[in-house]
């Protein structure tokens, strides 16, 4: 039905669109963190290894931004890609560790992880020249994404057990919290109205809530099956998109650092948009007799 899914390899155009959209998301996240933070008041990750206090000067930010732009350029045109990925992995590690060190846990794990996974694929290629990087630079990224979702489910089962599903009846308190987060961010009262609306709905359909939570847990737990092949990754990606939409509607929570890399490497919406446009163009050409 969708021909590009029948192959278990990825075309150059698919890869180009994945890495271009991923680079854009990475650059925006980088700019957001660097516009916000100069210090690491609550050191986390690599900042725990620094002996003294940390301050990121304006000049250092300019240097990192220039280096980052250069590395992104090389990554996209695929020149010095091993060095580009090494550099991007390290800058990403530094950037999001700085973010975490301000207690701003935006769960951007996947961005750094994907750069490292792709770097790993190119490192194998450096040693074994016949290694299929065209496939594994993407498949390694999918592996990282899928295991992250599975770990999230394991974490739920480890902390709450299957009670996580029935405990969902306490969700109204979390709904209040996350919607109030939105309210204290932008002062928009619509967040609170939304919270009341959702809580009333959940109150009426408590069995439905438990069913949805069970469904979410199962989707997350088995996310690792996405590594089987490209088709599995796509279908699972679509399932995960629905799960994220549900979480957004109910909890007013959208964790960009998680769902955007998943969307790019498992669903590849820019590529889908591109082939749709191409199909429309071909149909139009046929209709007008070219």
């Amino acid at each position: 039905m969708i021909p590009f899914l029948n192959k278990n390899s990825y075309s150059k155009i698919e890869w180009t669109m994945m890495k271009s959209s991923f680079s854009l998301i990475w650059l925006l996240s980088f700019l957001l963190v660097f516009s916000r933070y100069n210090y690491a008041p609550t050191p986390e990750s690599i900042f725990k290894l620094l002996p003294g206090s940390f301050y990121l000067s304006y000049n250092a930010k300019i240097f990192l931004l220039s280096t980052n732009l250069l590395l992104i350029y090389f990554y996209i045109i695929e020149k010095h890609i091993w060095w580009s990925l090494l550099g991007l992995s390290l800058i990403s590690l530094f950037t999001f560790s700085l973010e975490d060190s301000n207690s701003d846990f935006n769960r951007n794990t996947m961005i750094t992880g994907i750069f490292f996974a792709q770097f790993f694929a190119y490192s194998i290629k450096k040693i074994y020249l016949d290694f299929d990087t065209e496939k594994y630079r993407i498949q390694f990224s999918v592996q990282l994404i899928s295991i992250s979702y599975t770990i999230s489910a394991i974490s739920k089962l480890n902390t709450s057990g299957l009670k996580w599903i029935t405990d969902g009846l306490l969700m109204p308190l979390q709904i209040m919290k996350t919607n109030y987060f939105g309210f204290v961010n932008d002062g928009n009262i619509a967040h609170i109205t939304n919270a009341r609306l959702i809580i009333n709905l959940l109150d009426k359909y408590s069995f439905g809530v438990m069913f949805i939570l069970a469904f979410t847990l199962i989707i997350e737990l088995f996310a690792v099956v996405s590594i089987i092949n490209k088709k599995y990754a796509f279908v699972y990606g679509v399932l995960l998109v629905f799960m994220h939409i549900g979480i957004y509607l109910v909890l007013d929570v959208a964790i960009g650092g998680t769902y955007i890399p998943m969307l790019i490497f498992m669903v590849n919406p820019v590529f889908l948009f591109w082939i749709t446009l191409k199909k429309i163009k071909n149909t139009c050409m046929m209709l007008i007799g070219y």
Binding site: F120, L173, V184
Partner: protein, 145 residues
């Protein structure tokens, strides 16, 4: 070695990341993705007010409600303060609020609230029977300069 890498290439990152999470826990780029791994029977929301008790939007102070909640937990854990279910005493809340405002302040020196009074407050949501109640508490106030 080559055979081993080629045979495991279909799942090698899964394995490396899983082992990494076991060893390093919550240290970027490793994470247990523990958000919402339990549904607590209480919740906290933090917000800022000015000297007229009007809410200051978090975005005006270069932060977010989620960030403040994470900051609260980090500070409690670093200082070994027991927290949750509204158990924190006024003095503990005062100390946590002080540290939260200090962290907010250092990344905001060039922002619009210079020389203005900023107060940090907490909303504590909990169940009383089947009704959700909210208790508002002032934590700490300071002048941004």
């Amino acid at each position: 070695m080559k055979q081993l890498i080629y045979k495991s290439s279909g799942f090698i990152i899964v394995l490396i990341y899983f082992i990494g999470v076991i060893i390093f826990g919550e240290a970027h780029p490793f994470s247990k993705f523990s958000m919402y791994n339990s549904f607590a029977d209480y919740s906290y929301v933090f917000y800022f007010t000015d000297n007229e008790n009007k809410m200051i939007k978090c975005t005006d102070l270069n932060t977010t409600g989620t960030n403040l909640a994470h900051m609260y937990t980090t500070i409690c854990e670093k200082n070994n303060f027991e927290h949750g279910h509204g158990m924190e005493s006024d003095s503990v809340l005062h100390e946590i609020g002080k540290q939260m405002l200090n962290i907010t302040k250092i990344n905001n020196l060039k922002y619009t609230h210079n020389n203005k009074k900023v107060k940090i407050n907490r909303m504590y949501f909990y169940y009383e029977g089947k009704v959700i109640k909210c208790k508002k508490q002032e934590m700490y106030e300071t002048i941004f300069k």
